[in-house]
């Protein structure tokens, strides 16, 4: 049972990617109902609260924090195995607030996404430092857009070149896990635009294999972590 919470208040992408554009949030006695993709996958996003795709959410920090609090307090998720929180880029209000508000609930950790080039890594190191500062465990790093294989000649190009060793080198230096590398695949963008599952649409893509391996490693981390926690109790 999975819940996906989108706290990118200014740029909520999750509704479109999940094929839920235009859906609205319903209220009940027990709170806000998440929008369900499938019986075991519920989603919440500010995107569902906007009446038009042109509506901009032009809010300063405190108002964004208020909505994030509401999402956590008022959404009736039911019993869930995983709550996944998608965040905007940065180390600001949204990030501080979500860590603060979830502190009592215990966060397993953060998965950090980067692309291979130094321009990206230099920001991701800051994000990792943010995690250390707020005592958020780092489950690991994913290197996205990691190489592109031309569909015609099958040669690989490094469109975003890992000039300083990519995520691999950074993870070594910072002593965090590299969960995996996901290559560029035009089908990924297409599936997201159509709101369909890339994993279902392109089961044989190398990117699918990468995603599945990464997800498995995340699940293993969470299982191990829980086991250790229960041992302590």
């Amino acid at each position: 049972q999975v819940a996906l919470l989108d706290i990118d208040i200014c740029g909520p992408s999750i509704p479109k990617m999940m094929g839920l554009e235009g859906e609205q949030v319903h209220q009940s006695g027990s709170g806000w109902s998440p929008v369900y993709v499938e019986e075991n996958l519920g989603v919440m996003s500010v995107g569902f609260l906007l009446s038009s795709p042109d509506d901009a959410v032009i809010w300063r920090g405190p108002k964004k924090n208020g909505l994030i609090k509401q999402f956590l307090r008022d959404v009736d998720w039911g019993e869930i195995d995983y709550l996944i929180v998608d965040t905007p880029p940065g180390t600001s209000d949204e990030h501080l607030s979500i860590v603060q508000y979830l502190s009592a609930a215990h966060i397993d950790g953060a998965v950090i996404i980067t692309t291979p080039q130094e321009v990206s890594l230099q920001d991701v190191r800051k994000e990792i430092n943010f995690c250390h500062k707020v005592k958020l465990p780092v489950i690991g790093v994913v290197e996205n857009m990691s190489g592109f294989v031309c569909p015609k000649c099958k040669n690989e190009s490094q469109i975003f070149p890992p000039t300083t060793g990519g995520a691999e080198k950074m993870c070594q230096n910072l002593n965090v896990s590299l969960l995996g590398k996901v290559p560029l695949d035009p089908q990924i963008g297409k599936s997201c635009d159509k709101g369909q599952s890339f994993l279902s649409e392109a089961p044989d893509s190398p990117a699918t294999l990468s995603y599945r391996n990464i997800i498995q490693r995340i699940q293993e981390y969470c299982d191990q972590h829980h086991f250790q926690k229960e041992k302590i109790i």
Partner: protein
């Protein structure tokens, strides 16, 4: 007392609703093209959490000095035709995270707008983080008295990105910021081995959005590994790779901005 922006002829903002689409890339390349056509350009980097501009000019290790009228911007070379200001120059260590809530960010942005001694510039380009929040509201408010020319909006071709950029257009409308045009970045990739073109991030979304909203379309910039490499190394792509695939589009964008200034200023 003369304001620090009194000598700046044109101010333009580079915005996007979406992260990772290439705002900083477009900002730097625009500055380089304008510099090569003899203009003096400044870049104000108001992305406080992820300041990319210093490294893109290979001046990430530079420090900022004070003078009587405020902060001296960092010059990219002896020529002094491109100057920069970024929080990147103020960090003790490059990996230091700036973990600030809105009010603290707003205070620094006000300072950045008022206290940098730019001197005389033809263009001041303001590079922003993604979104429509504190940084954007504060920057537009602080710049309002200086009548910015407008904003360039950067998107990648796919619908998920365009979806956020539509909201950025609304932000511009609501804050009275003229939209100079839309750039569709990462628009196609030509394989350097066999020349096959693949639309890795789809194609046409930016152009369609421009048409749909009646905003000028400034052009498509393809994915270009030589451009990415230049940014990594802080090299001047415009000077060194005039035959590369992204070059014509970047020059064309700068040309339209340059040509437009007379009509927009009046």
């Amino acid at each position: 007392e003369r304001s620090n922006l009194a000598g700046v002829r044109h101010i333009l903002l580079v915005l996007s609703g979406k992260g990772g689409v290439g705002k900083s890339t477009i900002s730097t390349q625009l500055a380089l093209v304008l510099r090569h056509s003899g203009k003096k350009v400044g870049i104000l980097d108001v992305d406080l959490c992820g300041p990319s501009i210093p490294r893109m000019f290979r001046v990430q290790d530079n420090n900022v000095h004070q003078c009587d009228s405020g902060w001296v911007p960092v010059f990219v070379d002896q020529d002094k035709s491109i100057s920069l200001m970024s929080i990147g120059f103020l960090l003790e260590k490059p990996d230091d995270a700036v973990v600030w809530r809105g009010p603290k960010k707003n205070a620094l942005i006000k300072q950045f707008v008022a206290d940098v001694a730019w001197g005389d510039l033809d263009f001041l380009i303001v590079d922003t983080p993604p979104g429509t929040s504190d940084e954007h509201i504060s920057t537009v408010e602080a710049l309002r008295p200086y009548k910015p020319l407008g904003a360039i909006l950067v998107t990648t071709p796919q619908a998920v990105a365009v979806g956020d950029v539509r909201r950025e257009l609304t932000f511009c409308k609501k804050t009275g910021l003229r939209v100079l045009g839309i750039v569709e970045n990462m628009s196609g990739f030509v394989c350097p081995h066999c020349s096959e073109c693949t639309n890795i991030f789809s194609k046409g979304g930016g152009e369609e959005l421009a048409k749909h909203t009646g905003v000028p379309f400034l052009g498509c910039v393809p994915l270009d590994p030589q451009l990415s490499q230049s940014l990594e190394e802080g090299r001047d792509f415009i000077q060194e790779f005039p035959k590369s695939s992204a070059f014509p589009a970047l020059v064309h964008i700068a040309q339209q901005i340059s040509d437009g200034t007379s009509q927009w200023s009046s």
